[in-house]
Amino acid sequence: MSTLRRNLQLFLLFFLGGVGIFLFWLYESSTQEFFKTRSTISKEIDHLFHKELFLNYEVLKSSFFLYHSYDALTSIQKEIETLLQALASSKIITQDKKTKEVFERYNAIMQAKLNAVEEFKRYNAMIKTSVTYIITLLHKIPQNILQDRKKSRYVLNLIGDILFSKNSLDTDFLPSIKENIELLKPFATKKPTDFLSRLILHATLFERSFAQYKQTVDTIMDKKSLYTLQRLESVLAEYFKYHHHKLQKLLHLLLFFYLVLLLMISYFIYRLHQENQRLEKLKTKFRHFSITDDLTGLYNRRAYKQDIRKYKKPFFALVDIDRFKHYNDFYGNKVGDHILRQCAKLLQNHIPKKFDFRLYRLGADEFGILIEEHDHIDADAFAKMILDIFKRNKIRFKNIELAISVSIGMSKKRPLIETADMALRSAKNSPYKKYALFDPRSNYFTKIKENLKRSKIIQEAIEQDNLLPFFQAIISNTTGAIVKYEALARIYVDGKYESIYPYLPLAKEMGLYPQITKTILAKSFEAVQKVQKPISINLAMNDIENPEILNYLGELLERHPQLTSFITFEILESETLKDYRAVQNFISILKAKGIQIAIDDFGSGYSNFAHIFNLDIDIIKIDGSLIQQLPTNPNAKKVVQTIHNLAKEFGIETVAEFVSDEKIFEEVKKIGIDYSQGYYLEKPKKLI
């Protein structure tokens, strides 16, 4: 699935989710609004209905009783007005055309009614004032009228009709009232206190306003408003029904939508699951690749590093193909690769399954076998078993039989690769052994420790000026006199002087060797100056090739030109002369300054006679190992004799080293060697 497509799908899902939420919100708010509106409007209509009935009741009460507080009526008027306003501003009524139409009809009727109430209050006041007054007037009815049958009949008829009219709210008696007023009028006087004129005044007021009074009451009592309100209710019911239906549709849509969404999500989850499985497989594959060697299919070093942590008691064997480089160089990489693959196969197939082993390819031609040592593993037997595998199964390449053999280093001591490697090296170094088990008691770790200690000593010796030359006398074999001293470097360790010899390989590695040489040179020169005796100083080939040392030596010689006749340089012959010309050049320069040149350790194995004798040297120091064999080994004697004779031929003087006892000294003298040095004659010592 492409990223774009997946993103699109995700976007679609989110979008649909958003739409779903929106739809839900819409439904929720619509529903809420719907029910709220419905309940509000129903309540309002209900209130209106009751308030109107109450208004009618109050109006009737007010018209019935001669006097009655208008307070209640007034407050109902206000309540109705408020309700009408609320309805008028309600959303449905402003929006729905049909509802609006009915409401407006109703509102008009109600407004007319409210106005009629105000009018009613006024007519009611007038009617009632007159009626009240007429009734009160009865208290003051004069005697003459009571006695006059005609007048009294008119008065009673008039008052009776008025009360009848008012209490029946019937206008039919108004003509009768008018008639009686007319009949009474001739008897009335103009005096304001006159009973009849007062009666006539109020009767007339009543007669004039009663019709309108009745009309206002009728207007108020008219049921048209209530019917219209009912109509409004039914129109609203229709409206609500319609909207309820719409809401239900929305709900169905919503449910359908959610169903679709649910299906989509299920589908995506399914797809995601598939994807995950695929990824899981891929991951396993990648993991496999990352810990496997391409060529052989064995586990690689990374795998080894991961695995080794899990082992509690590991046994580890490092199998190295002997002279693999040789095969590679000789037959080419193709064959090399073939060999490696075949070796891997052999190991994989032939190591007995009882060893719960794992195979690794750790280096170019190194295989590792890692086994958890549940039962004791006999390393010798194991190694022999491996060797046997290679002996019995020949590796061929295009019918060429390749005589492949292996060496095996084994270890049970962590760090396994390092220790097994040490064991392997020890096996390889030995001409007889093909395998070795790392011995934890071996000095591997102590050596490392020792090296660290020595490094520190060298470092400190240089820093604290603890290096100096000791001097060993060289004696003339003919006179027995000391003719020269050899400067031997000493290092001051733990309160005593030691030979620097064991420290030199380390010093070379640490790059401190030139520094040591320079110190010994300087101090030897110092000694020569002081004692004014001939001194022989050792120089290695490395020193001659090192410009730093050459420069330093040049400086010393320039500073002390008067000492050159005392100096002999012994060039160590233990290393091959690499740059023969440079050495020749160096020697000729020194010789020109009157310095003598000796070859040290001559006969120790490297000697190239032709070179040596071509160099313009003065002295040959015969190797101590030969000298020490003189009393016991006739061959050694012959070699020494030959060297001496040869030297004599070239006019070169000879020195015997390591003369450690009388017998050797006697042999040396017998051969005719010119000079001797050794512990038998004199031990090295401080000269200054």
Binding site: F65, R122, T136, L201
Partner: protein, 304 residues
């Protein structure tokens, strides 16, 4: 005739009390009312700083004043007699012609009227823009932002507190005290003569509009009548029925303030709206009754 008397007696008996006492405890927001009180008495609310609300609605005249028509800024005369602010809360509408529904609506009228306080909203806010009022508004509303609606609401709230309960008549209605014989006779006359048909309810008026001179036309002009609001010809000369509460204190009377004494007011009202003249003894009974309508001074005015 006997039968007629019986019928009338039944009718009397059936009539429930058309007048109700002023509630002894009328609830209102004390904090707002306190602010309203300060505003009510502050002449800074008129353009020349001479007139406050209280200038025309004085406590000693039960929230009205003793002039036929009130004087506004620069001594300008108004057109109508100042209606009492006491118990105005019980009126169904405010102003003589009822053009304001609420006390809040009413309060802005005099403030904006050029003949009365002659203020604009901007000027009002400018006058109140000081630390004192900011603090007062903060006390009342919890914020020191002064707005016109807040000002008006505070004044209206103060006016809601201006009720005069426990008049002798109210105590009589509650059967806590008896009216004197004459006062009681006056009360009965008040009913018998039909005064009560208009002067009913808690305020003995203030709940309907009626025509002055319904029976015998009133001779004087009728400015700012109900017609101004409804433009209905029937509403000419129509005013809100004034309250009779504290009527003994609110002379002069009528919309024009041309009636100086209560006795005259009763006499003229009988003549113009009831169509007869009272006998002197009846008049005195009615006056005795009207005097029982004087209530206690509003409690908020005693408070500091």
């Amino acid at each position: 005739m006997k039968l007629l008397m019986l019928v009338l007696a039944i009718l009397y008996a059936l009539a429930e009390t058309a007048i109700t006492p002023i509630p002894q405890h009328y609830s209102y927001d004390k904090k707002l009312a306190q602010l309203g009180k300060i505003l009510f008495f502050d002449p800074n609310l008129s353009s020349d700083r001479t007139i406050s609300c209280a200038s025309c609605h004085k406590p000693e005249f039960a929230g009205a004043d003793n002039k036929p028509v009130s004087l506004g800024v620069g001594g300008q005369k108004g057109d109508l007699n100042s209606p009492p602010v006491y118990n105005a809360v019980f009126n169904f509408a405010q102003f003589w012609n009822g053009r304001a529904e609420t006390l809040e609506e009413q309060a802005l009228g005099p403030l904006h009227n050029p003949k009365e306080m002659n203020m604009t909203d901007t000027l009002i806010l400018q006058r109140l823009d000081n630390d004192f009022y900011k603090e007062q508004f903060k006390k009342a509303y919890g914020t020191n932002t002064i707005t016109i609606p807040r000002l008006v609401k505070a004044i209206a709230e103060f006016e809601r507190a201006l009720t005069t309960p426990n008049s002798k008549f109210d105590r009589f209605l509650r059967k806590e005290e008896n009216l004197s014989a004459n006062e009681f006779k006056g009360y009965l006359l008040f009913k018998r003569l039909g005064c009560i048909t208009c002067h009913n309810g808690v305020n003995l008026g203030g709940n309907s509009f009626q025509k002055i001179g319904a029976v015998v036309p009133y001779p004087g002009p009728t400015p700012h009548d109900r017609y101004e609001v409804t433009h209905d010809p029937k509403d000419r000369g129509v005013y809100k029925v004034p309250t009779l509460r504290n009527i003994a204190l609110t002379a002069p009377y009528y919309h024009d303030g041309n009636i100086t004494t209560l006795q005259e007011a009763v006499e003229k009202m009988c003549y113009h709206n009831l169509g007869f003249t009272l006998e002197p003894i009846e008049q005195s009974y009615i006056l005795d009754f009207l005097h029982t309508l004087t209530g206690q001074q509003p409690a908020i005015l005693q408070e500091q």
